[in-house]
Symmetry: C2
Subunit: 138 residues, 2 copies
């Protein structure tokens, strides 16, 4: 369901370079973690993983890195109704989400599986629509 781009550190480094982001060790590791292993993690979940798996890293670096990756268009930052934490999404295509209200887990819904039609007042110009379907996974 989720597109997972599992790349080697060298390929990650290339992607960072292409995006104009200096590929530091911390950025390579965090970006690869989110691309390959993590599922819609929060900053704090990334920090937990990083503290276990990298030599030493500060909270500020985790936030800085996530912010840098989002600014560079390599990650999306999401805010969902059930939580006050920002969620980082390696899926940067326009897409929608299903929220399992029991577990709090988020699932991607491909753009083409969701159709939205709407009528807006005159003078309202839309340039994006976000859909969150809430429910349960049985």
């Amino acid at each position: 369901m989720t597109k997972r781009l599992c790349l080697s550190p060298a390929e990650i480094e290339q992607k960072l370079n292409d995006a104009g982001v200096q590929p530091t060790l911390q950025r390579i590791a965090i970006f690869r973690h989110i691309l390959c292993e993590a599922d819609h993690p929060t900053a704090d979940q990334v920090r937990e993983w990083a503290e276990k798996n990298l030599d030493k890293i500060s909270q500020a670096t985790v936030y800085n890195t996530l912010g840098t990756l989002v600014e560079a268009g390599l990650l999306q930052a999401l805010r969902l109704p059930h939580s006050d934490k920002v969620i980082y999404d390696h899926n940067i295509e326009d897409h929608h989400h299903f929220l399992d209200e029991k577990s709090g887990r988020l699932y991607d819904l491909p753009e083409e599986d969701v159709e939205v039609t709407y009528k807006l007042p005159k003078k309202f110009r839309a340039h994006r629509v976000d859909v969150v379907v809430k429910g349960r996974v049985e």
Copy 2:
């Protein structure tokens, strides 16, 4: 566009009683403010108004009151992608929103003006869909 239920304090008191919420002065005033005057306010905007317009009120009471009104089903709490603040909505019917990304202002979109169709994986059971249309008001 937004349904505005402008009621007298006595009518507000009745609504609170009906919902099983003791109609204290603070609750009546805040609930009436959100029903009649405020447009998708944050807790802090409610606090600002309350400090100006009520004899004395604490921040905790504002949060307590908003929480109580949401629990009683008299307000909706919203979390939107552009802000980390909870937004309180007197419109408790299912409805959608338009976010003016320039001003940050939220507009209600009636349920019937938005149509969503989606295809979910087996075992996914939806019980609500939230749509946020983002764009500009010219």
